[in-house]
Symmetry: C2
Subunit: 348 residues, 2 copies
């Protein structure tokens, strides 16, 4: 019984607060209108009592609260045009005060966040989150072929003075690690990268060889074994160094292992990628289109196979950048600014 009483009192007090804020807002609108002298009239043109009541109602109802935001923006947009500096500063001050008051209401717009706590905790570019001293700066870059993603990743690593890993480097490191253990011979270098890697000699695999491999890699195909080796390598590197990793589903691997990182996807419109590939790979337009379609398909298939996620869909990454809007150098700088590492390194 007493609890119910308290609840009613609290509700009344919120209602009271809303009415007070609404009244201040109504007065502000009148003041702004007087100062601007606009022929468009004031924002609130209805009668005083009804308007204030409606405004107060907007404050404590969802989702209509967002309409309050628009009304407030309309008033502040007008207030910013006031020519008399003193008046402007005075009324913008009052506007900011009202905005602060609104923000204290539980039902205010912007009160329900979209934050994914786990994701934000793992996102090293989210500077509001606190990281342990042991966390490293790890940037995972996915990209479409022809978007200059690798060039951007390499230049970024150079600018940040951190290590750079792409498919070629993983192949070399893994082959050497395996050669050291004596478990894999030279013949098997560079299979993941074979689409990209035409200067290494091509090798043909027959069924017999495939079966032999299957038994060697504890029942995994060689492709899977390479993937799992890479995953292990990425996670163990993440414990000891800062680096940039191109592709390799590194974003999902790190997420699944709860290791903080930044995930970025670099893309550019198809026509621009076609033109770039024509120049870089010395292809005709027809060849370039076919090549890019094949590469996009292969990338998507690989990513989906190992992660179950859709490759290149914006909401799966922290950030997507259109490299054609910036070019290679500026894309590097946008990322540096975004992680607050430009012009000098501030992280750690």
């Amino acid at each position: 019984m007493q609890e119910k009483q308290i609840k009613i009192t609290l509700e009344k007090s919120t209602h009271q607060k809303c009415m007070e804020i609404a009244e201040r807002l109504y007065e502000l609108d009148g003041e702004v209108y007087r100062c601007v002298g606009s022929t468009l009239g004031r924002t609130f043109s209805g009668d005083r009592r009804t308007t204030i009541k409606n405004l107060a109602m907007l404050m404590y109802t969802r989702p209509q609260g967002h309409l309050l935001r628009s009304e407030m923006a309309l008033i502040s947009n007008m207030a910013r045009t006031i020519k008399n500096r003193e008046d402007r500063s005075h009324l913008m001050g009052e506007y900011n005060e009202i905005l602060k008051q609104v923000a204290t209401l539980d039902t205010a717009f912007g009160k329900v966040d979209i934050l994914d706590e786990e994701r934000a905790r793992l996102n090293t570019a989210n500077l509001h989150q606190k990281f342990s001293e042991d966390d490293h700066l790890i940037i995972c870059i996915g990209r479409t072929h022809g978007s200059a993603g690798n060039d951007i990743g390499f230049a970024l690593a150079d600018a940040l003075k951190i290590n750079y890993y792409d498919v070629e480097i993983f192949n070399q490191v893994l082959s050497r690690l395996e050669a050291e253990k004596g478990s894999v011979n030279d013949d098997e270098k560079g299979i993941i990268g074979e689409e990209f890697d035409k200067y290494r000699s091509n090798r043909t695999f027959n069924l017999k060889k495939s079966l032999k491999e299957l038994s060697r890699y504890h029942g995994l195909t060689r492709k899977d074994a390479v993937f799992f080796n890479q995953s292990d390598l990425i996670c163990s590197m993440a414990k000891s160094e800062d680096f940039i990793v191109m592709g390799r589903c590194a974003d999902v691997i790190l997420k699944n292992n709860h290791i903080p990182h930044i995930s970025i996807f670099i893309n550019a419109p198809f026509e621009l990628r076609v033109h770039r590939v024509m120049e870089v790979n010395n292809m005709s337009m027809k060849q370039a289109i076919r090549f890019l379609k094949r590469m996009d398909k292969a990338h998507a298939k690989y990513y989906n196979f190992y992660t179950g996620e859709k490759w290149g869909v914006a909401e799966n990454y922290d950030l997507c950048i259109n490299s054609s809007s910036y070019g290679i150098d500026e894309t590097v700088e946008v990322i540096e600014r975004m992680i607050n590492q430009h012009p000098k390194r501030k992280h750690k």
Copy 2:
């Protein structure tokens, strides 16, 4: 004949340059290996003469040049692990010198940019581009419903102290402008926003009324007339003020009118949007899913109808942000950092 002679001389000289760089790189690899003492061996394990020849070849052939990048990254990744500080600094210095030499080659990796010159010229977040004093800071924000895009836009406008425009505000401004001209009466307020706008009373339109409208708006439907009025308003505002505009296909309108701006798309995973909408709109999960699907479809249709472009596809925007990785406040700050306006405004 003489021209051909000169061309051959130039080619020889490029070849000579590549051989010299390759030799320096081969030596650097040896030095790094000696300093690191890794059991993995040096990067270039073949014989000296063949390796240098192959490296030089990588330098003047496309697309194989990108393999040179990986080889160089492998060496510099190793060099960074050298414990003796003097050795490390000496060898990283040599590495940077070689990198600079490589960059002077016409065929070097990273030499073919992905820049879309028209797009970059219009992108106010591309700080490498120069803008006229008359250009304003205009940020176009597209977003999915439930991703807190409007909250982010409003807070960003507040942080940058610039105006904020969303569908509600456009409706109000346009109705007043039209009321001033006497061409539209109050009955017709807020049609574009009717999906969003449930506190304004619903109105039903019949065929007769539609036909009457069609003749009034010079053969356009009212919806089209509103769109074209908004477009005019956006372009004319862009000449006189800094602002943030939510949706309204403003990115494409400004692009088509060659007006510099920044285009951002804000999105979050569907599940998270569902949960946010459940809380904000007080809906069941089933209702929220249906509502969001309907909203996404309506957004996509509207954007596609007026622009011919696909809504929410990353490569159509300068930048896409996953708001769930950051939350409202940090998303605002990421954008501020990205356009170099944080902590104090530097633009203009």
